[in-house]
């Protein structure tokens, strides 16, 4: 179990650095394993990590390893994740999800309005990854935004009548590859 974790973590950490390059061009990020019960040692090179982590782990009385996420958007100094903007936080979360996916893909992903905080440029960067990885897993994206709709191979239109009943109409779209080649 422990070996599987370390192997998966190593792969996810490597993927995370790459995915962050795509979602935050010019920025950088990394995943770090922290061992709170080893006290000062884990705080070296973790100047930004809030002191609270070590104490929390000790309360539980177990050597609780954890995964720290560090992201530095382009041009900024490394900072607390909490200070990041709404859009930046969404991108960090999506980068983490994709990083773990690339290491160990699940058969399908259902992403409900995950792009709500993203501006158009970042929505495009996110959708590029969804399209790129759609050969390795099934991505089902739920949205009310037109821009996201344009990335679909198959569209499912949901509507509700004045009777409180939902209906679905689905349409397979012309090969996206063809449409993009023509564009």
């Amino acid at each position: 179990i422990r070996e599987a974790f370390e192997e998966t973590f190593a792969a996810a950490a490597e993927n995370f650095e790459d995915v962050v390059q795509h979602l935050f061009p010019g920025g950088r990020g990394r995943l770090r394993l922290v061992h709170p019960e080893r006290g000062p040692r884990s705080l070296i090179g973790a100047a930004e990590s809030p002191p609270g982590h070590g104490e929390t782990a000790e309360e539980d009385g177990q050597p609780e390893t954890g995964v720290e996420i560090e992201v530095t958007p382009p041009g900024k100094s490394a900072k607390r994740l909490s200070l990041l903007s709404g859009g930046e936080k969404s991108l960090v979360a999506l980068a983490f999800m994709f990083a773990v996916f690339l290491a160990r893909p699940c058969p399908f992903y259902i992403l409900d309005e995950v792009e709500a905080a993203l501006d158009d440029i970042n929505i495009d960067r996110f959708l590029e990854l969804v399209k790129r990885y759609s050969d390795r897993a099934q991505f089902i994206v739920v949205t009310h935004q037109k821009r996201t709709m344009d990335a679909a191979d198959t569209l499912y239109g949901v509507s509700m009548g004045g009777d409180g009943v939902s209906r679905v109409v689905s349409r397979r779209l012309a090969g996206r590859a063809i449409a993009e080649a023509a564009a």
């Binding site: 179990i1 599987a4 974790f5 998966t8 973590f9 922290v34 982590h53 929390t56 782990a57 390893t65 954890g66 995964v67 996420i69 990041l84 936080k89 960090v92 979360a93 999506l94 983490f96 999800m97 773990v100 160990r104 699940c106 058969p107 399908f108 992903y109 259902i110 992403l111 409900d112 309005e113 995950v114 709500a116 399209k131 759609s134 897993a137 099934q138 089902i140 994206v141 739920v142 949205t143 009310h144 996201t148 990335a151 679909a152 191979d153 198959t154 569209l155 499912y156 239109g157 949901v158 509507s159 509700m160 009777d163 409180g164 009943v165 939902s166 209906r167 679905v168 689905s170 996206r176």
Partner: protein, 165 residues
């Protein structure tokens, strides 16, 4: 290994049997506010064993049963079927396709079925973990929850990676 179809009947805003079939490529579910999109997300979480009503926005699990609308009577039960196709033979059931059904009646009676045969939740969880879907269902990101991983503690993120491993 992928999701082949979702069928909803009596679940939230879907009183009549509604089936969504999924194929290759990117699937996008669109519609106006309140049309029923996230109800489909909830249906998948629910069918695959979600135990907390809060995770599907209810206060009791019975909230997922279609409650009626304007001129439409409420349903007696909610039933959702999720069919997962196993191209690589990862599921040791020996089937190439697995159908998972969950049902809940107004009186609280409920059941799970695997390929039509009544079974216990623990058997559904077993089939899911064979197919790479952990019981935390981290591959389903509910509306408003995308930032969760950024807000969560380092220990919780480790658990997420452990489950994927």
């Amino acid at each position: 290994m992928h999701l082949r179809s979702i069928t909803l009947k009596g679940f939230k805003s879907f009183p009549t049997r509604t089936r969504l079939e999924f194929g290759h490529g990117v699937s996008v579910i669109v519609g106006p506010n309140g049309s029923g999109k996230s109800n489909i997300t909830d249906a998948v979480l629910w069918a695959l064993g979600e135990q907390s009503p809060l995770a599907v926005r209810g206060q009791s699990m019975r909230d997922v049963i279609f409650a009626g609308g304007h001129g439409v009577q409420g349903a007696r039960a909610a039933e959702v079927e999720v069919v997962i196709e196993d191209g690589e033979g990862r599921l040791d059931a020996g089937f190439s396709e697995v159908s998972i059904v969950r049902r809940l009646e107004r009186d609280g009676e409920g059941e799970y079925r695997l390929n039509g045969a009544r079974c216990r939740l623990v058997e559904v969880i077993e089939v899911l973990s064979d197919s790479g879907l952990g019981k935390e269902m981290h591959s389903v990101v509910s509306q408003g929850k995308v930032e969760q991983i950024v807000l969560s503690r380092p220990r919780e993120r480790r658990l997420l990676i452990e489950e994927a491993a």
